[in-house]
Symmetry: C2
Subunit: 220 residues, 2 copies
Amino acid sequence: MKRNTKVSTAVIRRLPRYYRHLSELQEAGTVRISSSALGKSMGLTASQIRQDLSCFGGFGQQGYGYKVDSLKEEIGEILGIHRGHTVVVLGTGNLGRAIIENFRFSSNGFRLLAAFDVSPRVVGSRIAGVPVYHADSLEGFLAEHPVSVGLLAVPISAAQEMGDRLANAGVAGIWNFTNYEIAFDPQRVVVESVHFSDSLLALNYMISQREEERSEEESP
Amino acid sequence: MKRNTKVSTAVIRRLPRYYRHLSELQEAGTVRISSSALGKSMGLTASQIRQDLSCFGGFGQQGYGYKVDSLKEEIGEILGIHRGHTVVVLGTGNLGRAIIENFRFSSNGFRLLAAFDVSPRVVGSRIAGVPVYHADSLEGFLAEHPVSVGLLAVPISAAQEMGDRLANAGVAGIWNFTNYEIAFDPQRVVVESVHFSDSLLALNYMISQREEERSEEESP
DNA sequence: TAGATTGTTAATCGATTAACAATC
DNA sequence: TAGATTGTTAATCGATTAACAATC
């Protein structure tokens, strides 16, 4: 384990994919896999996979490859899956509710403790077993329960304010689902944003390019 | 415009962010901006912004900078916002429904034509004005309406099958919200995936790292 | 005109790929 | 043992940053 050297973002972004693919292999009953086989199935080179893994240690065996079970475990450990992190959801509109009801937090190593909203229609109720409290009681709750991550699914107008309140109360990370680039002191909180809009615009670009290429082929 | 040279993925992924930031500047009434000012507000270098934009042409004026309005328009054009692309949603569970009700497709240049599901409870109804048809009628609908993109929000077990049906019916892109890496001939369809799970695992890694650094500081 | 800022070419930096000795 | 495949070092490739002449 030479975990000291700073690991690049590119590698970090690939770790969850490795984890996901290894989980699928494990479910399919695969016991061992070589870097070249894993690379082929993931669209990466064998070299890259070995290089990536070597950031964290030597998990393979020469002449054999990697044991699917233990490599998956190792990567899970690196990702922090067994650290007992916790999360609360801010905002129980359609999106917040959808995530609470469908997202398997526990598979990703998180315990979902509570949700917060301001609407009297939901405050006091439960969504998929998760209690919904009034946003006013956020700080009180955070003071009593150790919360690692706050999921922001509030209207865009409330995003920065609620983000600030989370940061001030000392959460380590913010998982931002609002289409707004919340600004923070990166020393204090880590922000990970899911920007649907950016994703769709990138797709729009790619299919538009295709269309242009096609039309150029016809009339060059 | 030297649109011929292949534009790198890194640049493509930044285009939507430029577009978003320019929209915010426009709303704030900003008329002109220099590459260095834009860079500062986005956390990029001025060099990178000029380099990125130069992939598509010269949109600025020496000694002046960029006009916010027209640069935003140009980037919108590059992204394909005015191409009249269309989309259908597959699956109207919580997530599909949340997206239909909340996501501003039109702001991203898409018209949402219809949704598809198999449950008799929703087939025949409308969600936020969008008609929901039975999945069996997907091919018939696609034959009559030009659809650019299919949004996959079906259960993971149906993901590959529905994706195949979309591809066979000739959609140009698939916007994949299932936590499954659907496999396609990249010559035929462009797949853009939104993997919540990968995003949360990356966040988990980042906050876990922080924790380790902190604990090392205490006991070095 | 003088100052500012672009677009572009060159220099640097980092990430990916290739090669290979070590060894299971 | 022979074959396979790792971990790592070196080579290549690509992306970011720096520099600067052109010019508004």
